[in-house]
């Protein structure tokens, strides 16, 4: 975090973003040339080291990415499904190994065998048709998953038309923005990104800071393996996201909306851009929208491959073109966010909920779900279920209902499920009955709801290997700023790997010290969160793990 860099990089506004430009410059060879980086540095009046430092951070900008042509998914669901060795083997028939890279979770958890080639994601049986994919136009990137609402379809409601969908927005433009904010607060909607912070309060903080320039950011970079609900909303219900951002802008007096979309979701970028163009065509965005005096513009920023950018302050740094290292709080983004201006960052699913709240009133949302967890929630199920797919359920719905009724139960033997991404808890199957889709039951049982997506750990998958995968992921994606996470995730990975692959026994005290250090010491939830599933594993799979410890 550098105040100076935020200022300098903000001078050209969000329209001309260093990060965006670096992405463009990397397209040709997989990484920008040194000359191009130097030119960027002098254009933005920053150091070469800054521009190079940013470039070197991202999977798809860094020099090592030069020449990569195809990327294999190594997200948790694909790893647990065990499909990726075959993917690599098959790809090697067509590509040099130097041309094969990795992407972490392409959102194809329901089909696996996922890989990315030439701006498109493929999964399931596509691998078998590689000849038809390489260097040819094709539509083999399509995937299939079930989408169903247990009760009423809210987030998954059919989209009709722009004019009908945006009618509530036109109504809002006639209202006092404070009244609109009150509706949101009444709904008690809590952030769907993992932390569960009340959205109304977040918007209010930003609203209360005086500044001519404010930003609304949609965090479409939550790359938690197992969760493809964001991808669903971006690609299938793009207007729900844009609508939510417009409302957020209206209540906070922000006039810029930035959709920061994962590099791993190239199709989402196209869909959202089209939706923005459609809104522009009918005058629902731009200057003085429908004569209301409210201005709002959208800009898509395409991420470049870094899980930590899902953390809101890292995301802000990323958009600025700084290295996406986590910032200290305070100052909170509402006080000092993008380019040091007041900023609100919300998750895709949270924003998507605003349409229902605005249309039907906050109380209608509040009336669904439980006391402290209102509304509905999207839950993604991976390929180990009989009916993989994305389901919308009211908060408070028993987990077993989701797994058994909606998912049709497990297709093969499963010993645990990880819910809420790599930082979410590892729930042994016997604990499923104790949980419901809400913040409270998860917290009570020592797990974390997160975004509530479910990845299965098959019975024959060694838990130690799962731990090693978690640490590998955590270490690879650590931003490297705080000592506990930078060093601790690395050592955690080394310890688990050594124990798994040799007769080395981990000192149990050392291991628990490491977990405590990560939990208590880390700057953000990345390092702070990884011990949860590891501790769950140690608690519930002690018999399987004890051979690795002394």
């Amino acid at each position: 975090m550098s105040d100076n860099l935020s200022e300098l990089l903000g001078r050209k506004g969000v329209e001309e973003s260093l990060f965006d430009k670096l992405g463009q410059l990397a397209k040709l060879e997989g990484t920008p040339t040194e000359e191009a980086i130097q030119e960027m540095a002098s254009t933005f009046l920053i150091g070469k080291a800054n521009a190079f430092g940013t470039t070197s951070f991202y999977d798809f900008l860094k020099p090592e990415n030069k020449g990569k042509k195809v990327y294999v998914c190594n997200g948790t669901a694909c790893v647990c499904a065990g499909t990726q060795k075959n993917v690599i083997r098959t790809l090697k028939n067509h590509f040099d190994s130097k041309e094969i890279g990795h992407m972490t979770c392409l959102g194809r958890c329901h089909e696996n065998s996922a890989f990315h080639y030439n701006g498109k994601n493929y999964s399931g049986s596509a691998l078998r048709k590689l000849e038809n994919i390489i260097d040819t136009e094709n539509d083999l990137n399509k995937d299939f998953y079930n989408v169903k609402a247990l009760d009423k379809a809210i987030l998954t409601e059919e989209f009709t038309s722009i004019s009908e969908y945006y009618q509530p927005f036109l109504e809002v433009l006639k209202q006092d923005s404070l009244a609109v904010l009150e509706e949101i607060k009444t709904s008690n909607i809590r952030g769907r990104g993992g932390a569960g912070f009340p959205m109304g309060l977040k918007l209010e903080f930003c609203r209360n800071v005086k500044n001519d320039t404010k930003f609304i950011i949609c965090n479409a970079d939550e790359g938690d393996p197992g969760a493809y609900s964001d991808r669903y909303l971006l690609e299938q219900r793009p207007h729900s996201v844009l609508f939510g951002m417009l409302i957020s802008g209206y209540v906070t007096h922000a006039s810029y909306g930035i959709v920061y979309i994962r590099a791993e979701y190239p199709e989402s970028v196209k869909v959202i851009q089209k939706a923005i163009d459609d809104l522009l065509a009918v005058g629902l965005i731009g200057e003085n929208i429908k004569g209301s005096g409210f201005n709002f513009k959208f800009k898509i920023i395409q991420a470049q491959g870094s899980y930590i950018c899902g953390e809101e302050t890292a995301l802000i740094n990323s958009i600025e073109g700084q290295r996406p290292e986590v910032r200290i709080r305070p100052p909170f983004p509402a006080q000092k966010g993008l380019f040091n201006k007041p900023t609100t960052v919300n998750n895709v699913e949270t924003l998507a909920a605003l349409h229902f709240i605005i249309k039907n009133g906050g109380a209608a949302w509040k009336s669904m779900g439980t006391e402290r967890s209102s509304g509905t929630k999207l839950v993604c199920l991976d390929s180990y279920f009989n009916k993989p797919g994305m389901y919308e359920v009211e908060m408070g719905t028993p987990l077993s209902t989701v797994i058994n009724e909606l998912g049709g139960g497990f297709a093969s033997s499963v010993k645990a499920v990880q819910i809420g991404g790599p930082l979410g808890g590892l729930v042994p199957v016997e604990k499923i009955e104790a949980l419901a889709i809400d913040f409270e039951s998860f917290s009570k049982e020592g797990f974390l709801l997160g975004h509530a997506s479910i990845v299965c750990v098959p019975s024959d998958f060694p838990i130690m290997k799962f731990i090693e995968h978690l640490f590998d992921f955590a270490s690879y994606e650590s931003c490297g700023k705080c000592f506990p996470c930078r060093l601790g995730t690395k050592r955690g990975h080394e310890l688990s790997s050594k124990a798994l692959n040799s007769d080395y026994k981990i000192d149990r005290k050392l291991f628990t010290d490491l977990l405590t250090t990560l939990e208590q010491g880390s700057l953000c939830a990345h390092g702070g969160g990884i011990p949860l599933p590891v501790r769950n594993a140690m608690q519930y799979f002690e018999s399987e793990l004890k051979q690795y410890f002394n």
Partner: protein, 914 residues
């Protein structure tokens, strides 16, 4: 009163402070250890070692928080040393040590390593982790003459990266990669030498280990003594902490408690000290006999000088002798030099280097305000909304202030206006850059004031109550020809108007100016206009505003304060006035003269006319640095007795008849006065090298020899004398100066002054005077034949004539003078980068290496005079400021062509023969 609890003990909190700052205020400094925190950097939150536990009630449920960036809140219970938080710290340090070479005993910072200290404090006894990946393979970077790195010792605290950003604003350092692979980079992961590093050393000082250091190993604890003194290299007046052992200087750092520089300084202050015992140092008095210098004893040289001066005085009168004192010397030495001339020799022919730099500032500001010194302090930058920097390149000339200005300019809420022909470093970041043609400051400033009045932005209340002369001024100003100004300045009127409005509408606007204002034929008028601009907008007399000249040499303010001027004695008293004359005569005990003496250029003219028999020059290389070198040389040749008191055999010293070996700032005590009127204590660090004497002592001894009873040179004794005659020094004593000095005027009781002209001006009312723009005579006479304008500038690495900096490793960083030329002009003359081109003016020719850059506009060239090999002053001219006689270094009519390369060959030869 809001309070919180540290380990269940109640203390008052300050709203907004961090828990760490709160704890540090009441408990011992190291109660809570830290690694990434540093006194001059923003909180960062990387190391987490400063974690504490916080509860909302006594012994309640705790949350672990990093104390450095968590604000303290009322009624918090903060636990600094619970078992769990101690374990956390220990476990973090253990992780750090898994990637650190445990070679403490042979490490240069052994005993002064923050990691070592914290590891000991948290009680590390073993590293339990098995061997894993490390960065121990990282190679040392020894590419640079000063900076070194050994990143195997890096703990990734980012302090260096943040210092480079938050303190220096240079962005040379960053991180590359991510996670465990994150590592410090310089530029594109280059060496220090290949990067854009400006060698300020902020990173080295910030680094808690020896991952980044310097060749002097400034963090090593070998030194037995440390002396706090003041830098000699510019008017910023950085405080330095000089480490010595056995009378030898080991290294220099910058103290964090220095009000001037807050732990920062530049490569000159921090690293360029090795000149002090360079083999080239003059180590004996010498007399030139038959064209050769002969070493003589002090007695002999004193005898020689005394007899000569006595005979000149008797035979040709006192005014046949003149003196040029040195702004590199202390106040006390300057005071002595002018006293010697006025009392012993009975002449006012005493002047100093201010003549060739800021004499128009002193005169212009005296005319408008009544005091010829900065109205405010650099610290006021914290309270200003707008800076106007005109004719100054502070990131090179005044690096520490320059860095602060750059920090200011980078913030988007701040307004910065740069008026300079060159696109200086600061101009790149400025809101408004008026790249005017050299020599048109007056025109552009008039235009700015025109718009301030016509836009209705003048502060009428301030004008009515605090100023005089406005109505006449306004009438004349409104008659200026805007079209003509656009033509001569090359600026669009809208651009000038925008800058004017920005300055006038800022809540607080502060101006800074340098030699780009003063070294012009209309220098004094330009200074008066800058002062008028402040009057016009009411930007004077409070914090965050004012007119702030960036004084050049370290003690140029002080030398004028002490009376090194031919028209004013110590304390700026007008020597022509009877009552003043009486005061001086009574105080000095001898009759002092009342006629205004020669200014420096007049001294040379007098010499050429045969009227000057003797000139005594201390620490000023007039041959290399005064304009029109050939004329200066002729003047020295025409003077019978040229006494040069110096550290080195400078170009001027070569023309001396008598050489007196003086002492550098590191070898004597006294005071320097910086550009914000701050009188600071210079403390002797080492003894003068063998054969040399403190310059003040030399003058005292001559005075005694010539019959004036002046006590030996001591800083406290001298200050006692000075405080009795210089009114604004009334309350200054050696003991009162303390660590951070005092800003004059200092009242008898020791109260000093940060801001001048608060209630009323020194002269009563602020004075408006309109002065029209005129083309300089240099261009009127020569522009047709010599169509390019050469202007002169300074480089960060060198100081003035370079006599000191060229005898340090700074020379490895910048080896020669070069000429900046616009790509268009270069193309017109078929000049490529590094080609030598011949610069020709009506005075002569020089060959200089070309650097092609759009920092200068077409038609404008710029170069430096740090190196005697080039002697750029062979071509600078005789035009002077109309009022103060400051030479016009900034506008020289020249023509250019590609050089035939003679000079280049010579240069190469001199390189190969060492």
């Amino acid at each position: 009163m809001k309070t919180a609890y540290i380990d269940n003990q109640e203390f008052e909190i300050v709203e907004g402070e961090s828990i760490l700052a709160f704890i540090k205020r009441y408990k011992e400094k190291n109660l809570v250890p830290t690694l990434c925190d540093a006194p001059n950097l923003e909180a960062f939150g990387a190391c987490r070692v400063c974690s504490v536990e916080v509860a909302l009630e006594e012994n309640g449920t705790v949350k672990t928080m990093a104390s450095c960036h968590t604000p303290v809140a009322a009624n918090q219970y903060i636990y600094t040393s619970t078992e769990s938080v101690k374990a956390l710290r220990k476990n973090i340090i253990e992780l750090v040590l898994t990637d650190h070479p445990l070679d403490c005993l042979t490490c240069e910072v052994n005993g002064n390593c923050e990691l070592q200290t914290v590891a000991a404090q948290v009680g590390i006894r073993e590293v339990r982790y098995p061997e894993g990946d490390t960065h121990l393979y990282k190679m040392k970077d020894l590419s640079h003459p000063y900076m070194t790195s050994d990143l195997s010792k890096c703990i990734n605290c980012y302090r260096c990266v943040r210092a480079c950003d938050e303190v220096q604003g240079e962005f040379v350092l960053s991180m590359s990669g991510r996670g465990f692979d994150t590592t410090i980079i310089k530029g594109f992961d280059q060496s220090f030498m290949d990067s854009d590093c400006v060698s300020c050393g902020a990173c080295s000082q910030a680094c808690p280990t020896s991952a980044i250091s310097d060749i002097f190993q400034s963090k090593a604890i070998e030194a037995t003594e440390s002396t706090r003194t003041i830098c000699t290299y510019c008017g910023v007046g950085c405080n330095l902490e000089v480490a010595t052992s056995n009378g030898e200087i080991l290294s220099i750092t910058a103290p964090y408690d220095a009000e001037v520089n807050q732990g920062h300084t530049c490569l000159k202050g921090r690293y360029a000290f090795k000149f002090y015992n360079h083999p080239d140092r003059l180590d004996s008095p010498m007399i030139k006999r038959n064209g050769e210098f002969e070493k003589v004893s002090w007695d002999e040289v004193y005898e020689y000088i005394t007899s000569k001066l006595t005979s000149y005085k008797e035979e040709f009168g006192p005014d046949s002798m003149a003196g040029i004192s040195s702004s590199r010397c202390t106040n006390e030495e300057n005071y002595l030099m002018q006293k010697f001339f006025r009392t012993v020799l009975s002449t006012n022919n005493i002047d100093g280097c201010a003549r060739v730099c800021h004499s128009p500032t002193a005169l212009g500001m005296q005319r408008t305000f009544g005091t010829g010194a900065a109205t405010n302090s650099i610290d006021d930058l914290k309270d200003t909304n707008c800076i106007m920097v005109i004719g100054a390149n502070p990131t090179s000339g005044h690096p520490v202030t320059g860095a602060k200005l750059k920090q200011f300019a980078m913030k988007s809420d701040n307004v910065s206006i740069v008026i300079d022909p060159r696109r200086t470093e600061l101009a790149k970041y400025a809101t408004h850059h008026l790249a005017l043609r050299p020599g048109t400051n007056v025109a552009v400033l008039n235009m700015m004031m025109y718009y301030i009045i016509t836009e209705g932005l003048a502060d009428t209340e301030f004008i009515a109550s605090r100023t005089e002369g406005f109505e006449t001024y306004k009438a004349e100003l409104l008659a200026i020809d805007l079209t003509q100004i656009e033509e001569v300045s090359g600026l669009d009127r809208e651009q000038v108007k925008a800058a004017a409005i920005a300055y006038a509408t800022a809540a607080n606007a502060m101006s800074f100016h340098g030699l780009g204002v003063t070294e012009h034929s209309l220098g004094t008028f330009t200074v008066m206009q800058i002062a008028d601009l402040a009057l016009l907008t009411g930007n004077i007399g409070r914090r965050g505003v004012g007119v702030n000249p960036l004084r050049g040499q370290n003690n140029v303010q002080g030398s004028a304060d002490m009376g090194v001027q031919p028209h004013q004695g110590a304390g700026y008293l007008d020597i022509t006035k009877e009552e003043v004359n009486k005061t001086y005569t009574e105080f000095y005990g001898v009759e002092v003269p009342r006629e205004i003496g020669y200014k420096i250029p007049e001294m040379f003219d007098a010499a050429l006319e045969g009227k000057l028999k003797s000139i005594w020059i201390i620490g000023e290389d007039v041959v290399q640095t005064d304009p029109n070198t050939k004329k200066v040389i002729k003047a020295l040749e025409a003077t019978e007795l040229v006494i040069v008191q110096e550290l080195f055999m400078t170009e001027t010293a070569k023309y001396a008849d008598v050489i007196l070996p003086g002492a550098s700032f590191l070898e004597k005590s006294g005071t320097f006065t910086n550009g914000e009127r701050r009188v600071q204590a210079v403390r002797q660090v080492v003894n003068p090298i063998h054969g040399c004497k403190p310059d003040g002592q030399i003058i005292v001894e001559i005075m005694n020899k010539m019959g004036y009873p002046q006590p030996d040179y001591t800083p406290d004794g001298m200050l006692e004398e000075i405080s009795q005659i210089v009114p604004f020094f009334a309350g200054i004593t050696w003991d009162r100066l303390g660590k951070n000095g005092l800003q004059w005027p200092v009242a008898k009781d020791g109260t000093d002054t940060q801001i001048l002209h608060k209630e009323e001006f020194k002269r009563g009312k602020g004075y408006f005077e309109f002065n029209p723009w005129r083309e300089t005579e240099e261009l009127v006479s020569h522009a047709l034949e010599y169509p390019y304008i050469l202007t002169t500038n300074r480089e960060l690495e060198h100081y003035n004539c370079g006599a000191m900096t060229r005898r340090t490793a700074n020379e490895e960083l910048l080896k020669d003078d070069y000429l900046m030329i616009n790509p268009e002009d270069a193309q017109d003359h078929f000049i490529k980068e590094d080609d030598y081109l011949c610069l020709e003016s009506p005075r002569g020719k020089v060959d200089v290496r070309a650097r092609i850059t759009d920092e200068v506009n077409p038609g404008v060239l710029s170069t430096t005079f740090h190196f005697p090999e080039i002697m750029i002053n062979n071509i600078t001219g005789d035009v002077h400021d109309s009022e103060a006689m400051c030479p016009e270094y900034k506008v020289v009519a020249v023509r250019i062509r590609k050089s035939k390369g003679k000079f280049k060959e010579k240069k190469n030869l001199s390189v190969t023969t060492g």
